[in-house]
């Protein structure tokens, strides 16, 4: 049977019905300078498979990959050791099912994994309930803001300057379409997080107060104080965790008064993956359960009284509630959630605490070593595995010079905040269990060298 595509008349009728002249009009939101206007320069129109493979291998050889160099990057994406068993287990045939494997009569294994995942996330965050995952940390953060708006029926969100700027950007993009008011601020190079400024900004119109923990500069805000201030004005506290390993060392946000806790789960089991796919984590107090977005898996019993698992509380979701659904997400990051769950199961509670302690120890050692370099100051009083140092000049240049010498030295704040010159001397440095003594020494010696030449 031949596949018969739409006729030009069909297309014209459909375009007319939505008020578009051409197919291109449907993509009017794509900036003109992001569009490809012709052939890519230097790219042959066609070549043999072997020639393409050699070309691609040569290009790949130009990369300085995370595993091949001393690596100190973080800022929302972390390089941790993933046990080989994680990748082995996620590839088992039982897990490689078709899209949307949620039917309880055929997918008990998948549903049980989701249930275990939710249990782990809820315990990690110190909240009553967690969903079966979201796309990534930034979209989970936006969903939390939207959820707080539904609970409080208020449209204003106060964002801490310590919230990752990409998360702020995601919220601002979404708010353009929903009419929510996003009150964001830039961080300041200070050892103190901006708790006082955030508290001062909360008013009777504020529905959500959003605080990252640890924050973008690695500092640890006083969640209990912010929670009290938010609740006094009838607002909800949303806490964002971009590095879940940190929670092996610091108190779970839910135990400090957070109403909604969201995060990026990439750290555990997922890997850097060139920036995605990642894993959005989402948990909340049970009293807000019916305003939560996303899939939820629940435990039940079957007709014979045996333990089983089903998706539950679907009346929140789009396929039932249509435009009044809590969110348009109708899926979850199943494979990444599975990897997270396996890694977390291998670690266990004690293993996670040990992992966090090793991370902190490595970071402390890195900070102490870097502080010995003339002109380099460590900003933080307190941190887990990520901290900020202040250099004598724009850190972007230092990062570039370090990379040229085979060291991935950190994330320059100028890259995250190009408009904010006051931050440009800041360099965000992360150490994990993968960081060796040699890595630390190489970073310190190379940075000292780079700064001396720059002076």
């Amino acid at each position: 049977m031949r596949y018969l595509p739409l006729t030009p008349a069909d297309r014209t009728a459909m375009l007319a019905s939505v008020g578009a002249g051409t197919i291109d009009d449907l993509f009017a939101d794509v900036p003109a300078d992001a569009l490809l206007s012709g052939p890519v320069e230097g790219l042959a129109p066609h070549a043999s498979e072997m020639a393409v493979e050699r070309h691609m291998a040569r290009l790949a050889g130009k990369n300085l990959s995370a595993g091949a160099a001393p690596f100190f990057l973080g800022a929302g994406a972390y390089k941790h050791h993933i046990p080989a068993s994680v990748d082995h287990l996620i590839q088992r045939g039982e897990f490689l099912t078709a899209y949307t494997p949620y039917q309880p009569e055929i997918a008990q294994g998948t549903l049980q994994v989701l249930f275990e995942f939710q249990t782990q996330v809820a315990r990690l965050f110190g909240v009553d309930v967690a969903n079966a995952s979201m796309y990534d940390g930034s979209t989970a953060c936006w969903e939390a803001i939207a959820m707080a708006g539904r609970v409080t029926r208020r449209k204003k969100a106060v964002l801490s300057g310590g919230l990752h700027p990409h998360y702020v950007g995601t919220a601002e993009t979404m708010a353009k379409f929903t009419g929510d008011v996003i009150e964001a601020r830039s961080p300041v190079l200070s050892a103190q997080p901006d708790d006082a400024e955030v508290i001062a900004a909360i008013d009777d119109q504020t529905g959500a107060v959003v605080v990252q923990y640890p924050d973008i500069l690695g500092r640890i805000p006083d969640l209990a104080a912010i929670a009290a201030a938010a609740h006094a004005k009838g607002a909800l506290l949303v806490v964002v965790v971009t590095e879940p390993v940190a929670l092996g060392l610091i108190e779970a946000p839910g135990h400090l008064g957070a109403d909604i806790v969201v995060g990026e789960g990439q750290s555990l089991g997922v890997g850097l993956n060139f920036g995605g796919p990642y894993l959005g984590l989402f948990g909340a107090s049970e009293k807000f359960l019916r305003q939560m977005p996303g899939r939820l898996c629940g435990e039940t019993v079957d007709a014979e009284g045996k333990r089983g698992f089903v998706l539950t509380l679907s009346t929140r979701e789009q396929h039932i509630r249509r435009e009044k659904a809590t969110s348009n997400i109708c899926t979850n990051a199943g494979l990444c959630a599975l990897a997270f769950s396996i890694h977390m199961s291998l670690l266990g509670g004690e293993g996670l605490r040990q992992l966090a302690a090793v991370n902190h120890d490595r970071a402390r050692q890195t900070a102490e070593r870097l502080a010995q370099i003339p002109g380099v100051t460590v900003l933080n009083d307190v941190f887990v595995n990520e901290f900020t140092v202040v250099l004598p000049a724009d850190a972007r240049e230092a990062v570039r010079s370090l990379a040229d010498k085979g060291v991935l030295g950190g994330v320059a704040l100028g890259r995250l905040y190009p408009q904010d010159k006051a931050l440009h001397a800041g360099l965000l440095v992360t150490a994990t269990e993968c960081t060796t003594d040699d890595d630390i020494e190489t970073l310190a010696l190379t940075l000292a060298d780079v700064l001396k030449k720059g002076a």
Binding site: R290, T315, R316, I320, R321, K324
Partner: protein, 123 residues
């Protein structure tokens, strides 16, 4: 005391400036077993036609609208523990919320019992 109805299948019992609102027996019958009722908090000012409560059944989640403008006086706390009251006693103990009316004389487009019965007979 007079009882009124809406085409959204709510009943409204008006007593002075207080209106008690619930869903009709016809509505609960159509929804099936009710598992949860989300109620508005007391003190919330509402406009006529605003969605103020949600009735969740095994089949669907349906909004319940404020039939008239006013302020929520109370939600039926008994429904937290016993949402099935809406099934067993939709037009009595299974009421959803009480509304202090802004203008007790403005009964808008509310139907009387005969008109509502005629309306559902057509459905």
């Amino acid at each position: 005391m007079t009882r009124y109805f809406t085409k959204e299948h709510e009943w409204i019992q008006v007593d002075g400036d207080t209106a008690t609102v619930g869903i009709t027996d016809f509505a609960q019958e159509s929804l099936g077993d009710i598992t949860f009722v989300e109620l508005p908090e007391a003190g919330r000012a509402v406009t006529a036609g605003e969605a103020v409560a949600v009735v969740e059944s095994v089949k669907a989640a349906s909004d319940v609208y404020a039939p008239l403008a006013g302020t929520i006086a109370e939600g039926n706390a008994a429904l937290d523990a016993e949402p099935e009251l809406v099934n067993t006693a939709a037009e009595t103990d299974g009421w959803l919320f009480k509304l202090t009316l802004t203008d007790a004389a403005a009964l808008g487009d509310l139907l009387d019992e005969a008109a509502y019965k005629a309306y559902i007979a057509e459905l």
